[in-house]
């Protein structure tokens, strides 16, 4: 019954402008840009008949522009606002309409990344202030084919180049936030080779999905690195997203999900009805080689001037994670108004090869905080990333040679964000972030006395446009 919201639904870049099933909208006949612009799903409507033409063949085309200005008014290594932007294009074909063959979906998407990266330029944070921060580029993102094997949606397999942040470790409530932490979290982002196959990168692989009532299993096997292993900058090394690497190590990932309500679940009158919730438990293993964070190949600290500078090598890396999304309140007067909570802890015991060995993000979302603003959400969230003992050990080693050199510990931030649905295709999102102990306590490179980077206040405005 509801107007289908473009931004409601699937996961998107990390963290996303939420994006609906691509192409729920076609546009308008002809090339009128203004007719119905206040209520239609795409700002450009039908693009002069293009979307309608694609629809005849089961095709859908979507463009999402995310533009934001974020700036730190205090703390950091530099101060000031910066602009950051991302254009995403996705084309999907449904085989039922195109070929009268049920269950197939072909997807290709691309990214155009523009603007600057505030976290790199001003903040020196681990948990970057915006999920769209990445090297400027125009690149292929995902290229896959998904085949369902039954009409109840219980089994499907996806093959091709995939970005794992679209399906794994996803918190539905975390998607509205601006900080990267709520999208692709710190543990995989920092610890996987090249940051892992997640925005703006991806990797070749296969993913299986099996669902039975309340339980869902997602399992995938992917190339172990989205770019050449060991590259200093994986985004630059795989600049166009077309490396299609297959012969590196392997990345195995699995996730078990519990959902209530499940399809078909019965509710009895007069009995306490559980509120909607999704719990996930997962883990990944990457068989690539990983450098030790503290010691070189002779056992000396990398901080020691006598070190070879060649880190000791470890084989393999893994982590486990959990995700919980839970509705805790539904307004009895208006069921659209809800409060949900979420939490997403993850960690690894392998401190020797992982900069971050534990991270957690959590928050509270209030949907429709202002009456009749049905599609607005107010969110208060936080993230924490803990530097591993080997990382802080290296800092301690360094302090022996550089007196006063600070030792990394953990970085925490809080974020308050209001997602205002101005039009169906246009969201405005004022955002506030406060970062404690940026970079987990790294020294400020601009400080002559080696002081840590001071706590930061970040203010900004994000806008999402669906064209």
């Amino acid at each position: 019954m509801a107007l289908v919201l473009l931004f409601a639904g699937d996961v998107f870049a990390s963290p996303p402008p939420k994006m609906g099933a691509a192409g729920d909208d076609r546009g308008i006949h002809g090339c009128s840009l203004l007719r119905g612009i206040s209520r239609r799903s795409y700002g450009l409507g039908d693009i002069c008949g293009l979307r309608e033409w694609l629809s005849k063949y089961g095709g859908t085309l979507s463009f999402i522009e995310t533009s934001e200005v974020l700036g730190n008014v205090s703390g950091g290594i530099n101060r000031g606002p910066e602009y950051d932007g991302l254009t995403q294009a996705a084309l999907q074909f449904n085989t039922q309409k195109a070929l009268h063959y049920y269950g197939g979906t072909f997807n290709v998407s691309a990214l155009q990344i523009h603007g600057q990266n505030l976290s790199q330029d001003n903040l020196a944070t681990l948990q970057t202030a915006s999920g769209i921060e990445a090297d400027r580029a125009t690149r292929l993102w995902e290229l896959w084919y998904d085949q369902k094997f039954d009409r109840e949606g219980k089994y499907d397999i996806r093959v091709g180049q995939q970005s794992l942040d679209q399906e794994f470790m996803v918190s539905q409530n975390g998607l509205m936030y601006v900080n990267t932490m709520f999208g692709w979290p710190m543990v995989p982002s920092v610890d996987m080779p090249g940051g892992g196959p997640a925005y703006p990168l991806s990797a070749l692989g296969v993913r299986a999905h099996v669902r039975t009532n309340s339980w869902t299993l997602l399992a995938g096997l992917f190339n172990g690195s989205p770019s050449k292993p060991g590259a200093d900058d994986s985004q630059k090394q795989n600049a166009s997203g077309t490396n299609f690497r297959l012969h590196d190590g392997g990345l195995a990932i699995g996730e078990l999900q519990y959902t209530y309500p499940s399809l078909g679940a019965m509710v009895r009158e007069g009995k306490q009805t559980p509120k909607g919730r999704v719990y996930k438990l997962g883990g990944w293993y990457d068989s690539e080689k990983f450098d030790d964070l503290e010691f070189d190949n002779t056992g000396l600290s990398l901080a020691n001037p006598a070190s070879t500078g060649v880190p000791k090598t470890h084989h393999g890396d893994y982590a486990i994670y959990a995700v919980a999304d839970q509705i805790v309140w539904i307004s009895p007067e208006d069921n659209d108004r809800t409060i949900s909570v979420f939490v997403r802890p993850m960690g690894t015991p392998q401190a020797d090869r992982n900069l971050v060995d534990f991270s957690v993000d959590a928050g509270v979302n209030f949907k429709e905080p202002i009456k009749h603003r049905d599609d607005d959400t107010l969110g208060i969230g936080m993230g924490y990333a803990h530097a591993s003992s080997r990382a802080s050990g290296l800092d301690k080693d360094q302090s022996a040679y550089t007196p006063g050199y600070p030792s990394r510990s953990g970085e925490t931030f809080v974020e308050v964000s209001y997602q205002y649905q101005r039009l169906v295709w246009w969201q405005l999102q004022p955002d506030f972030q406060y970062v404690f102990n940026p970079g987990a306590g790294v020294p400020n490179p601009n400080s002559s006395t080696g002081q840590r980077v001071k706590n930061e206040v970040v203010l900004g405005l994000r806008m999402n446009f669906a064209f």
Partner: protein, 382 residues
């Protein structure tokens, strides 16, 4: 001479049910407890790109391009996703498993005030005529809400005639039908009487103002051989239902209708009142029963929409505010339970705003329904 017809049988059944309390619906196993599978059948998006499937009706006969058992579905949104601009009725064949466009009308018809936005008010007569309501807008909001009309198509999808008059104001919910072949009676809920603009708010609730002017209209038809149906008379059999504009769901008002087993009582869903009501003597009464008698209120109901009668005599009522269908006893009002048929966690609560149309399958072993978040027809079966 026809001495025993369906109506007589239903009447006898109802009398028996009254006489023997343990007989009938209140003893039957809840229908929903027999439903264990849900399958996506087809995307309801036609070549024109229309969106937001609303009505679901199973064809009672084969006629023209329609085969008995086909599923007819209206689309309420046009290809821009603007509500109240959908102009297509699509036909899903359970045999071929293909979707075709049955009818596609122009966006603007002079005889249909406000334009075309095909609603859940859809039915098909045994004589092959297809009747559908229009609750139109031109900008996707009730700011441009038109009075709408009822459109009549032949069985090949050609527009035969339209009906518009002072009693017809945004035909909205699923139609209750008594079809005797050469004559028929339709019951249609109307949700568009003097609906204030979205911006006019109730100072107490903060929501758009509710006006209690929604009605249920009885339309008696004569169906001449080979000619379109003709309205012989019309009576407002219920009125005073709350109706209002809504930013997300366009209109809220009286919606679902279904005839009782007794053949004279009509059940209606009062969405804003969050209740199902009974309108007695609906087939014969000459005046309005007001908002009728409350059958079931609140409990598991969350803004009730389409109503259908399950094979066991219970009512199935779709909720607007979550992805549940509720089963209740129309005689006692007892709510047996509800089943989640849409658990999409992208909405909060899950499935919120996704459901509207539902129809019992011809074999009685399940039902068809639509989900507008994925623009698809689904079936739920045993």
């Amino acid at each position: 001479m026809k001495i025993f017809n369906v109506r007589t049988f239903l009447l006898l059944t109802a009398l028996l049910a009254e006489a023997i309390p343990s007989f009938g619906a209140d003893q039957a196993k809840p229908f929903l407890e027999t439903i264990h599978h849900r399958r996506t059948l087809v995307s309801t998006i036609p070549d024109s790109g229309d969106l937001n499937p609303y009505a679901v009706v199973v064809a009672p006969v084969s006629a023209g391009r329609i085969q008995k058992g086909d599923v007819l579905i209206t689309n309420f949104n046009g290809l821009t996703n603007l509500q109240g601009t959908g102009t297509t009725i699509v036909d899903y064949s359970p045999v071929t498993k293909q979707l075709t466009t049955f009818a596609h009308v122009p966006q603007h018809l002079p005889q249909c005030p406000g334009g075309i936005g095909l609603s859940t008010a859809l039915t098909m007569l045994k004589s092959g005529w297809v009747i559908v309501g229009s609750a139109p807008s031109t900008d996707g909001t009730t700011r441009t809400l038109g009075a709408g009309c009822l459109l009549v198509f032949d069985s090949n999808g050609q527009l035969a005639t339209t009906w518009a008059n002072d009693n017809i104001r945004c035909p909205w919910g699923n139609v209750a039908l008594i079809d005797n072949g050469s004559s028929a009676t339709l019951f249609v809920s109307m949700a568009g009487f003097d609906v204030p603009p979205l911006q006019v708010r109730d100072p107490v609730t903060g929501y758009p103002v509710t006006v209690n002017k929604g009605t249920v209209l009885r339309i008696n038809l004569s169906i001449p051989e080979g000619k379109p149906p003709v309205i012989t008379d019309q009576t407002v059999v219920a009125n005073g239902f709350g109706q209002r504009a809504d930013r997300d769901v366009f209109l809220v008002g009286p919606t679902g209708l279904v005839m009782a087993a007794d053949g004279t009582t009509l059940y209606a869903s009062d969405a804003l009142g969050n209740q199902v009501v009974a309108i007695s003597e609906a087939t014969a009464r000459k005046d309005s029963a007001g908002t009728g008698r409350t059958v079931s209120k609140d409990g598991l109901l969350r803004r009730p929409l389409t109503i259908a009668m399950a094979p066991n005599g219970n009512l199935l009522v779709l909720n607007a505010k979550n992805g549940q269908v509720v089963e209740l006893n129309p005689l006692t009002g007892e709510q047996f339970g509800a089943q989640w048929i849409d658990n999409n966690p992208a909405q909060s609560p899950p499935g919120n705003g996704d459901l509207f149309g539902l129809a019992i399958k011809p074999d009685g072993r399940g039902f068809y329904y639509v989900q507008d978040d994925v623009n698809s027809l689904l079936e739920a079966t045993q």
